[in-house]
């Protein structure tokens, strides 16, 4: 395992700047998640580290050595893709052993056997080793494809939305499992996703990307509680943070403040500004109130069994507002 560093890396495809002057350090042993919407440059960043793309500018180091000019095979990285691609004619065992049987690695068969069994244990699939890969469920297939990366002992594991093709239940299980695997192997992992829940729950560090730029990098809690820009604030948290004109709810805004950011849980009831209830959304564990304050939509949380109905008026006040300037940068 090793630290991975990107310094001033840029990459364009024709006129599109996919990655802009990126500085990023993946600390040794960290679980870094790059979060952003489609087109933010997440996958390109991953492919640049893997060597599947060549940067236009900047350098990439793995374990302190420059790999910018090296081929993917020379870089000692293992990649897991969104679509699991297993060899359908092989057993689970042979699928897992395949990367180790590569002529470059020359792994002795006894060592292969030990490694495959160890990984099968970590993934909870030792009883499936004899199965054909086509006789597995979707979740098992994805575990085998993650396993094919784990049998190797690379400097870094690179994962490109490996859970996005699975259904919600399975995704929740594998989230917990990936985190456990990371802890057990003390591996360095760079994981790319557009799913904020994956980023919040698994990462030791989250990097938020916007249009090819790394906007903020830090622990999930840091990013959630202390966003540097309005964009970052809106990427984490469900329901999304309310971004309203500064002072709308009567809070004192610092000079230059353009917008106030209020997470739904940071809106208090009982006094303050009048708000009309537009819709009451019962989601079971929480109830969302959709409010209108002087033509602005505000979403807040309330007691699951509230008796409020549309048309009523409630009073709301901000609890811990954060402020942003006209460009969306945080004002402290």
């Amino acid at each position: 395992m090793a630290e991975v560093t990107l310094t001033g890396v840029s990459k364009s495809f024709k006129s599109t700047k996919a990655v802009k002057d990126m500085d990023l350090t993946v600390p040794d042993g960290a679980f870094v998640v790059l979060l952003g919407p489609t087109g933010a440059g997440k996958t390109t960043t991953l492919r640049l580290i893997a060597g599947l793309e060549k940067p236009d500018a900047g350098g990439i180091e793995i374990g302190g050595e420059s790999v910018t000019g090296l081929t993917p095979a020379q870089r000692d990285v293992a990649m897991v893709f969104q679509q699991y691609s297993l060899y359908p004619h092989m057993s689970v065992y042979d699928n897992l052993a395949f990367p180790l049987r590569s002529p470059i690695l020359r792994t002795p068969e006894a060592e292969i056997d030990r490694k495959v069994k160890e990984v099968a244990e970590v993934l909870h699939i030792p009883h499936k080793l004899g199965n054909k890969s086509t006789e597995l469920s979707g979740g098992e297939m994805q575990r085998v494809s993650i396993g094919r990366a784990l049998v190797r002992d690379p400097s870094i594991y690179l994962m490109d939305e490996p859970l996005s093709s699975l259904d919600a239940k399975l995704r929740a299980d594998l989230r917990v499992e990936l985190k456990r695997i990371h802890a057990e192997l003390s591996a360095t992992l760079l994981y790319v996703t557009h799913d904020q829940i994956e980023a919040m729950t698994m990462a030791s560090h989250v990097g938020v990307l916007n249009e090819g730029e790394l906007v903020q990098f830090g622990a999930p809690r840091e990013i959630y509680e202390n966003p540097k820009t309005a964009y970052v604030a809106a990427r984490l948290g469900q329901p999304r943070i309310n971004l309203l004109p500064a002072g709308l709810l009567g809070e004192t805004a610092p000079s230059g403040a353009h917008h106030v950011g209020l997470r739904p849980e940071n809106i208090g009831y009982g006094d303050g500004r009048d708000a009309a209830v537009v819709r009451v959304e019962h989601l079971g564990d929480q109830t969302r109130l959709h409010l209108k304050v002087a033509d602005h939509d505000v979403v807040t949380l309330t007691d699951p069994h509230t008796s409020l109905t549309p048309g009523e008026t409630v009073q709301i006040k901000p609890l811990s507002p954060i402020f942003f300037d006209a460009d969306g940068a945080r004002i402290n």
Binding site: A172, P220, R221, L283, D285, P310
Partner: protein
């Protein structure tokens, strides 16, 4: 405007039963969700209401009139599909005018109607654009517009947002619901996404294996699930089931779980054998002393709350607790449950035991 009553409807395709005797009522102006996993019979049910399939048995009433054997054209129902099919060679206005012109409506009236619907959907500015260059959202709006101009009695929607990416989907879901609130037209909506169903629906029918498992408001279905399937399908993370063996009598207000007394809503029926203690993650509390013992397996940070996975002698369990409350993997903790929210199940039948909590809901069928 329409009330739709489904009465003992059944559908067979050869030997395969797609929908078993199902009954429920969709009230006038409701946004009604048909929810279930793929293959549960929800789309077949929708297609029977629209007239695209004829039921093998049973009746369907639209505003009191039995329509189950009528062709779709005589039902006055508009259908919006997952893949919105627009006429590619026509502009937006022509796409929306088409259903009216084919009905023989005078031009001036068509123009006024299209303008009115375009205003509702906020697409006045693209009326003269070709549909080819439109974004996914605008295409969806035009497809809706084409259904709305006819002023049908009801709208049928089969996963209309299924093809959209997550972020945009959330936005369109809100827009659809707001549109419904403005128009108040009866809408039947098929989805496999429980959050979408909870978020948009006035009422939900949960289907599984061709059977209606439960029918009610989102909060009812969430708080008082009628079966283990419903309890598991709705909610994220879903309801926890702790397995235990016992003989319970009607009137009991507590049960014995590993030698500890745990309160439950007063039982209205007895049960014996393999049972499950069903508790939602937000109704589990972590304590330092007493209660049930458990080991913390994992924690997942979610902002203000966190999900803690715990190992107990009765099976794994997930708790949703404030994220500032400490919980570390490997730690031993005690568990408390909010007793009045608990549902007990018979594990063999999967059915909820009747109690003070749910008797009203369960007696509705």
């Amino acid at each position: 405007m329409a009330e739709i009553v489904i009465k003992n409807v059944r559908k067979e395709f050869g030997d395969f039963v797609a929908v078993k005797e199902s009954s429920f009522t969709i009230e006038d102006g409701e946004f009604f969700m048909l929810l279930g996993p793929s293959g549960c019979g929800k789309t077949t049910t929708l297609r029977m209401i629209a007239g695209l399939e004829l039921p093998s048995a049973g009746e369907i009433y639209l505003d009191g009139e039995e329509i189950s054997q009528k062709p779709p054209s005589e039902r006055d129902i508009a259908f919006v599909f997952q893949m919105f099919a627009l006429y590619p060679h026509m502009n937006v206005r022509k796409n929306m005018s088409y259903p009216l012109i084919s009905q023989g409506m005078p031009r001036a009236q068509v123009k006024a109607k299209v303008a009115e619907v375009a205003a509702i959907l906020g697409i006045e500015d693209i009326l003269n654009r070709p549909v080819g260059g439109l974004s996914g959202g605008d295409r969806q709006r035009v497809a809706l517009g084409r259904a709305i101009v006819r002023e049908p009695k009801a709208f049928m929607m089969d996963e209309p947002l299924g093809a959209l990416d997550a972020e945009f989907r959330e936005h369109m879901a809100e827009e659809l619901r707001a549109l419904h609130d403005r128009m108040g037209a009866t809408t039947v909506y098929v989805t496999h996404d429980q959050l979408e169903a909870m978020q948009m629906g006035d009422k939900i029918v949960v289907m599984n294996n061709a059977v209606v498992e439960q029918f009610g408001t989102p909060q009812e279905v969430y708080d008082k699930p009628a079966t283990m399937f419903v309890a598991d399908f709705i909610g994220s993370p879903s309801m926890n089931f702790l397995n235990f063996q016992a003989k319970l009598a009607s009137g009991m207000q507590s049960i014995d779980l590993n030698g500890q007394t745990v309160t439950v809503p007063q039982l209205r029926e007895g049960a014996e054998g393999a049972l499950a203690f069903g508790v939602r993650p937000e109704h589990v509390r972590l304590t330092t002393d007493g209660g049930q013992r458990a080991k913390v397996m994992a924690t997942e940070y979610l902002g203000t709350t966190q999900i803690v996975t715990l190992e107990t002698p009765n099976g794994d369990l997930k708790a949703r607790i404030p994220s500032d409350q400490p919980a570390k993997a490997g730690e031993q903790v005690g568990l408390d449950f909010i007793g009045e929210t608990v549902t007990l199940f018979d594990t063999n039948s999967g059915r909820a035991l009747r109690s003070e909590l749910n008797e009203e809901v369960l007696s509705n069928g």
